[in-house]
């Protein structure tokens, strides 16, 4: 991460095939087509949702595959957040089906989604500000020791879990694990949340605007960690309105506009101009 950064250009992982020199460096030049017969980790099939008189989503379909990043692009009000709330079990769709690993599922609540391995990282909900890094990472799944009613936090084990979670995602954590959430930068919070989700066995990562409100350098680090997650076999749905970020890491791009799918592309089939045009036209 020491190379100079172009403000508009997120840094990319050093990959043999990805060492191109385009205007916008992409994580990998050629994108393999989805192998025939591959089962998407998550498939939304003709989903629709309305709130009273307003229609939020109409006939939206998408597929997220293991080891691929699907970027969900769209302006404010395009229906992105409604869609991720459906995918993470916050509320059910009015019509259409969700399929998880090829099977129809009904997600009754966020806990059920989480148990199936669907981890949603919300932009501003990543950390508790006065808990340590360790306590934040193990929150909700704290290791305990003792027996019967006399159970205590196993703080040593918790530290080990936190360390290996961060290590797994390649997050370099140079400060202590007792650092409080308030001293963790926005980018580090996102990375920490991704590390936490993967460590506890997610197979689908839904990331809600992970790079908005971040400085360029931090955004680059977060994108880097998203690529690592993908390489370790996570299916990633990346919600963003930053076209450049989407184009630099995504394998597939779905554009939402006014609650409908306005277009679906493989990353190498489109470019910044085409996407900008599309959104300007339909949004």
């Amino acid at each position: 991460m020491s190379e100079p950064l172009n403000p508009d250009q997120p840094p990319t992982r050093a990959r043999p095939s990805g060492a191109g020199s385009g205007e916008l460096e992409a994580s990998r030049r050629t994108i393999e087509p989805i192998p025939p017969g591959a089962v998407p980790v998550m498939e939304a099939d003709h989903i629709s949702k309305g709130f009273g008189a307003t229609t939020a989503l109409v006939d939206v379909s998408l597929k997220a595959y293991s080891g691929r990043i699907l970027a969900l692009l769209g302006d404010n009000g395009a229906g992105k957040s409604t869609l991720i709330k459906i995918l993470s079990g916050v509320f059910p769709p009015d019509g259409g089906t969700l399929r998880f690993n090829g099977q129809d599922v009904v997600l009754r609540n966020p806990a059920e989604a989480r148990e199936r391995g669907i981890a949603t990282v919300f932009q501003d909900l990543a950390v508790c500000e006065l808990l340590s890094v360790t306590r934040n990472i193990v929150l909700g799944r704290e290791p305990q020791k003792g027996f019967g009613p006399f159970k205590f936090l196993d703080l040593k084990k918790a530290d080990a879990m936190a360390r290996s979670a961060l290590h797994q995602l390649g997050v370099r954590w140079e400060r202590g694990l007792d650092e409080k959430g308030i001293n963790i930068s926005g980018g580090e919070r996102q990375s920490l949340a991704i590390a936490r989700a993967m460590f506890f066995g997610s197979s689908l990562l839904i990331l809600d605007e992970p790079t908005s409100a971040l400085a360029v350098r931090q955004a680059g680090k977060v994108l880097d960690h998203i690529l690592t997650a993908r390489d370790q076999g996570q299916a990633v749905i990346l919600i963003t309105h930053n076209f450049r970020h989407a184009l630099s890491v995504a394998d597939d791009i779905t554009v939402l506009a006014q609650g409908r799918v306005a277009g679906h592309f493989r990353r190498d089939e489109t470019d910044l101009d085409a996407l900008t045009d599309l959104v300007a036209r339909v949004g």
Partner: protein, 369 residues
């Protein structure tokens, strides 16, 4: 506390002055520092005001009797406040559960060994009701418990007819709850210290404690990570009211009676004690040990003013001054200290510093909004 500077020493050994300075700076950042300062200052002031009467064992015993009862009640309120809630009904719950305890012994002839646990169970039930309403209807706990405070107080006045009720309590039970110890202190002090210790372990060394802090800091993040925040809320209310009942039983053992106004005003005293103890009003951070010291502060004011011959109403005024002073120290001064640089070669990270910064940020947000 004592070995903290030593562990933070960097490669070069700082001078003794810097070590002491940094130790002082860190002490000031602890949530308990205000309460310790209050205890020390009040001790000196009251000793000067009544040198013959104040620094005596009898005085300490009276202070601890008051502090123990209020402190046990306040520990529940502290945990609840760290979890991000308020409970204004604890005073009324204390009164009503005391009534239950007295009636079971007097009118039903039950042994206190049965009556006391039943009273605690009734307290837990009343707390559970508070928690259920807060969770089910998503109403702010301040409003819910304001309502239940009025309801339970009304019920208690109706049941007692406004008259005090006395009861004969077996000496053994009296002694176990509030009797004199070998050194003359009351048993209630032992319960107080034991509950302080247990609550501290719960808060800092248990999963539930982690969840309580997370609930108070970022409810949505906690929920999103699978923390059963609603269950945590209900447990906290149950615990708070059960501890109110314990305090009530100790008072019943001490006075052998209950009256319609038992516990009235203690809900606000508990908030004052908690705040003096360094717990953030906004939740998420606090100290049970601080609350213990806050309760002792309270006891000192109450006893010290009587000994100094001050008029009765002075008590409220002085308490008010100390509460406001404590809040200023705990937020404003601590925030400035937290932003100040650690003295040469020490590490920055400190829970109290972070809390002070966050409290300041919350206050600024409040002013802006």
């Amino acid at each position: 506390m004592t070995n903290e500077p030593a562990s933070g020493v960097a490669r070069t050994v700082p001078s003794r002055r810097i070590v002491y300075g940094e130790a002082l700076r860190r002490f000031m950042l602890r949530p308990e520092s205000t309460a310790i300062a209050a205890v020390l200052i009040l001790f000196v002031v009251f000793t000067i005001l009544s040198p013959a009467l104040f620094p005596t064992k009898l005085t300490y015993i009276s202070i601890m009797a008051i502090a123990s009862e209020l402190g046990i009640l306040s520990i529940g309120v502290t945990l609840l406040m760290i979890g991000g809630h308020f409970d204004l009904s604890v005073g009324a719950v204390l009164g009503l559960t005391s009534y239950v305890c007295v009636v079971l012994m007097r009118d039903f002839g039950l042994s206190p060994v049965i009556a006391a646990p039943v009273a605690v169970a009734v307290g837990a039930l009343l707390g559970g009701l508070n928690g259920y309403v807060v969770v089910r209807f998503r109403i702010h706990s301040f409003v819910v418990t304001l309502g239940t405070m009025l309801i339970w107080r009304g019920v208690l006045i109706a049941l007692t007819g406004g008259f005090p009720m006395t009861v004969d309590i077996p000496v053994v039970f009296k002694n176990v709850m509030s009797g004199p110890l070998i050194f003359g202190f009351r048993m209630s002090m032992v319960w107080f210290f034991a509950i302080t210790l247990l609550a501290t372990i719960l808060l800092t060394r248990s999963r539930l404690g982690n969840w309580i802090q997370a609930r108070g800091q970022n409810e949505n993040a906690a929920r999103n990570l699978g923390v059963p925040v609603d269950r945590v809320t209900i447990i906290l209310f149950v615990l708070t009211s059960a501890l109110a009942a314990v305090a009530g039983i100790i008072q019943v053992a001490r006075f052998s009676s209950v009256d319609a106004l038992r516990g009235e005003g203690m809900e606000l005293q508990a908030v004052a004690v908690t705040v003096i103890g360094g717990t953030l009003l906004s939740g998420g951070y606090g100290s049970v040990v601080g609350t213990m010291l806050g309760a002792i502060t309270f006891g000192m004011i109450q006893v010290g003013l009587v000994l100094a011959g001050a008029p009765g109403h002075f008590f409220r005024t002085l308490t008010g001054v100390i509460v406001v002073g404590a809040v200023i120290l705990n937020t404003d001064v601590a925030r400035r200290m937290a932003r100040s640089k650690p003295l040469g070669g020490f590490k920055r990270s400190s829970a109290a510093a972070d809390a002070a910064i966050q409290a300041g940020a919350a206050a600024e947000k409040g002013e802006a909004g």
